[in-house]
């Protein structure tokens, strides 16, 4: 395979890890916080996606390193990679996926707490690897932890809220209103944390416009803008209308959640590109 093919596979695997991890962790978080029903089959599918793509990211690192498919199973090379942050991230994902798998079993209310602990391990895997970890700064890593936890929480609410909007608008209004109260605090924190990280990574605001990495970061910010537009529409228009028993608002809420979901996928795709194809 040539470099472009390797990198395309690496991008797809990273995209799978991001989609699977953020969605799965987000569902565990909103299940504990809001007590909403979360489809077991969906969590099972996301668990499989995260497991397979996590292993693929690790093996592809070896494949790219040796420029050979045989390299993907070379025990010596895989051992070298295990010693790096890529190995640490895989270890955290294995622990997190194990705990989340336990949370899928019918073992009572404790399973939600176990699911959240597993989610924290899963999300921490992004803090120990990637460009931010290379800065060796505790406070920037802390910002990243906040940033990804809030992003996962946001992604996690979308599917359950969409299901509620179509089936139980009254409960959708209750959950949506409660999420809105969280979002008023959490979204600005997420944005400030993201901005501060970008500044630390790039070294200057000008670099956002003059480097390839900076331009990609700006595209990602545009995707976040679409997400925020959808969230604002929900909070200011559709949730208040549902609270006043306006049944037509449920369709509007469902549609803006679909738009937010599309923006979320777009953002994760670009995040995968940013972390697969190079650094600042």
């Amino acid at each position: 395979m040539d470099l472009n093919q390797w990198l395309l596979f690496a991008f797809l695997a990273k995209f799978g890890v991001l989609i699977g991890t953020f969605w799965l962790a987000g569902l565990c978080l909103v299940r504990l916080v809001f007590g909403v029903h979360v489809n077991l089959r969906l969590r099972g599918i996301l668990w499989c996606l995260t497991t397979l793509s996590s292993l693929a990211v690790f093996a592809l690192t070896a494949g790219i390193l040796m420029d050979s498919i045989a390299g993907m199973t070379d025990r010596v090379i895989l051992g070298f990679i295990w010693e790096t942050p890529v190995g640490t991230a895989l270890a955290l994902r294995v622990i997190g996926l194990g705990l989340v798998a336990i949370s899928l079993l019918p073992i009572g209310r404790i399973r939600d707490l176990i699911g959240v602990i597993g989610s924290i391990a899963l999300l921490t895997s992004f803090v120990v690897s990637g460009h931010v970890s290379g800065l060796n700064s505790v406070w920037v890593s802390g910002l990243l932890a906040f940033h990804i936890a809030i992003a996962a929480f946001w992604i996690g609410i979308l599917f359950p809220l969409h299901t509620l909007a179509l089936n139980d608008p009254k409960d959708a209004a209750r959950v949506g209103q409660k999420f809105g109260q969280f979002a008023i605090v959490l979204v600005p924190v997420m944005m400030i944390a993201g901005g501060a990280m970008a500044w630390q990574l790039m070294g200057s605001i000008n670099a956002l416009l003059t480097t390839g990495y900076g331009n990609l970061l700006m595209i990602k910010v545009a995707g976040v803008g679409v997400l925020m537009l959808g969230a604002a529409l929900n909070k200011l228009r559709f949730i208040p209308a549902l609270l006043e028993d306006d049944k037509t608002a449920a369709d509007g809420l469902a549609q803006t959640i679909e738009m937010e979901g599309a923006a979320g996928i777009f953002i994760l795709a670009f995040t995968a590109a940013l972390t697969s194809f190079g650094g600042p």
């Binding site: 990198l7 395309l8 090379i77």
Partner: protein, 106 residues
């Protein structure tokens, strides 16, 4: 989706930017009177060398107990002429890195 893939395929020029070889001995483009006994790789971050290919043939790697910024390896016997050294390594941040240098023995 098609446009996204095109953008993504154009991005590999950004790749492999995580660790750079800051110097090699012999330096790239060197003209030497005698063949070198060793190759020295100096990197800006610690790495492990996983492959060195000299003129298309795999060279024996040195023992590496840990990631290091400077790696010295015994060079294979080389005749007069132009020689190409292609290397691959794993940066301690987990990123694959690679490079090539050439030199001439006259």
């Amino acid at each position: 989706m098609k446009h996204l893939l095109i953008i993504l395929l154009l991005l590999p020029s950004l790749a492999f930017s995580h660790s750079k070889v800051s110097a090699t001995v012999p330096v790239n483009g060197a003209i030497l009177d005698i063949a070198p006994d060793d190759f020295t790789f100096n990197f800006d971050k610690t790495i492990r060398l996983v492959s060195v290919v000299v003129n298309g043939e795999s060279a024996t790697l040195p023992d590496q107990d840990a990631f290091a910024k400077t790696i010295i390896m015994t060079a294979p016997a080389l005749d007069k002429g132009r020689h190409t050294v292609e290397w691959r390594g794993l940066s301690s941040d987990g990123h694959p890195v690679s490079g090539t240098f050439t030199f001439t023995v006259q």
